[in-house]
């Protein structure tokens, strides 16, 4: 009897808390999401503290120590085609790879939700203008669009980030627009307007409060795609330039070494896979935690 009472209390408790608290509680119960979140957090910390963690200078090459296999004393993960320590390069590589994988999504999140909210809230010709322009970018497969823009802009980290931002703005804007259009017609928005709230207040309090959740979940799902595409651009030679350590570029330069030392050549790709995999599972966890219907 007492146990059933306490269990009803526990299950009733989250509804008494705020929405975000209940999301956080659900997330901490989701083991998969927790593990993936910790791996990503660890990789971000590794990237920040790279100079202190990495055993060697990632740019120091040595002709004598080229393409050493995994497990070589002094070079735990072997060396690359110029004799640079792989472990150090992978640790330093996290900096650029994560930067190029996360920044476009953040930029697209800001610009895309702004465009979507404006289109949805103002409506009419403004909506048509913004959303039809966005439709044009939907006519391109995402990889093609990213390659086309960064190919035209020329190789470089900033250009790659710009092109990926452009790729991710349309889907985010669409999500933001559809939620805004739904919310705009609801009674409590009418009530707020009737009680004298200005457009900015309504957007800030009512629209953004509803839009940010779905948009944020959607954007987390894009992180894994963005990691793969960003490293892919570098892999094609459109992102970072040698000798900077970045996983996609390392994968490209090590491609020539697959006949001598295959597993060392595959290492940077595994790092990209790890981040992208964790991002995907984390996004899934976040989606189900933020789903109020469950």
């Amino acid at each position: 009897m007492s146990s059933s009472l306490s269990s009803t209390l526990v299950s009733a408790a989250p509804s008494a808390r705020g929405y975000w608290t209940s999301v956080a509680v659900k997330l901490t119960r989701d083991k998969v999401a927790l593990v993936c979140g910790s791996i990503i957090a660890a990789l971000i910390l590794m990237a920040i503290f790279a100079p202190w963690i990495a055993p060697e200078d990632p740019l120091k090459s040595s002709i004598l120590n080229r393409l050493k296999p995994i497990g070589t004393p002094g070079h735990l993960l072997g060396t690359d085609e110029l004799g640079r320590d792989m472990l150090s390069r992978l640790i330093f590589g996290a900096r650029l790879s994560l930067l190029m994988g996360i920044t476009p999504v953040l930029c697209a999140l800001a610009i895309g939700s702004l465009l979507g909210v404006v289109a949805g809230f103002v409506g009419g010709p403004t909506n048509t203008a913004i959303m039809r322009t966005i439709d044009v970018f939907y006519a391109f497969p995402s990889v093609l669009l990213a390659v086309a823009i960064s190919g035209a802009l020329g190789a470089g980290i900033v250009n790659a980030i710009v092109s990926l931002t452009i790729v991710f703005i349309p889907p985010i804007a669409r999500v933001a627009e559809s939620v805004t259009t739904q919310v705009r017609g609801l009674d409590y928005v009418e009530a707020a307007r009737a009680s004298g709230a200005g457009s900015l207040t309504i957007i800030r309090v009512h629209i953004l409060g509803n839009v940010m959740g779905p948009v944020f979940v959607y954007a987390t799902g894009l992180l894994s795609v963005c990691m793969i595409l960003a490293a892919g651009l570098s892999f094609l030679g459109l992102g970072t330039k040698p000798p900077l350590p970045e996983w996609g570029l390392m994968l490209n330069t090590l491609r020539t070494a697959i006949f001598q030392n295959p597993w060392v050549a595959a290492l940077p790709g595994f790092m990209i896979f790890l981040v992208s995999f964790c991002c995907n599972l984390m996004a899934d966890g976040l989606r189900s935690a933020m789903d109020v219907h469950r």
């Binding site: 044009v136 391109f140 497969p141 093609l144 190919g151 697959i258 595959a266």
Partner: protein, 317 residues
Amino acid sequence: MIVYILRRLFYVVPIALAVSAVCFALVYLGPVDPLKAVLPADASLELIEKLKVDYGFDKPVPVQFAKWVWRAAHGDLGLSLATGRPVREEIARAISNTFVLAFFACSFGFSLGIAFGFVAGYFNGTWIDRVVTGFAVTGVSVPHYWLGMVMVILFSVILNWLPAMGMGAGGSADWAWDWEHIRFVILPAITLSVIPTAILARTVRALVADILTREFVSALIAKGMNDRDVFRHVVKNAAPTALAVMGIQLGYLLGGSILVETVFSWPGTGFLLSVAIFQRDLPLLQGTILFLALFFVFLNLLVDVIQPFLDPRIRRT
């Protein structure tokens, strides 16, 4: 029905024009004057002026665009700066190679994805479902260019079963549908099929699991319909959405093959694109992107036209 199709056809015109505008604008995005990229540094003023007129750079931008679209509509995409051959011929040669690759990748990926999706959706919530879902998450998370490398390491370097790159003896011109040539397509096709397989498995799984919970399915089972006929009803309900996803995935596969084609040195459109980028061959870049994007628009149109035949509900709207 006819009105629906006509309206959909009409809607393609502005999209196609806008897509062409984006492709045209690509040239002006670059940091360097497109002419300077091809001219030698010591080019004489007369030569610069002559080339400007040849390429139409002396006219205002809208006029240039109108001319470019007019010519593109007639199949003239200009000459490649690198080879001097018509861009149209370059694309024609490359696209047939990409189609070969896409054919294998799609046949493999779509059938596998649909089969996995059905099984996982039918056994929703069991370990089978979890295994398939796990594979699907892995499939969408894996950088396919890396997967390609790993497969080359496994099947070419270590086991020495399949060739690592290229399209076989004689190159693309001598492609034949025999084992000597198909050998070359296996690794790139499997690599390219991973993402469509995973996405299709996810979609079909969600569709089937959802359809099986609907009341009409319970009613069909309750009235004593056998499993095979119930299955037919499920397929009919899942088909329109699955078809739409397959159309988009085929377009993504064709447009996104650049990474896999680079890994395997497959002489398709993706390869052409990377050549165009690194030699700053702008007519070739513009032309290839325009072609691939328009093909994607066409695929979407095709899906929209086929869909009402599969789903009568769309016809009525």
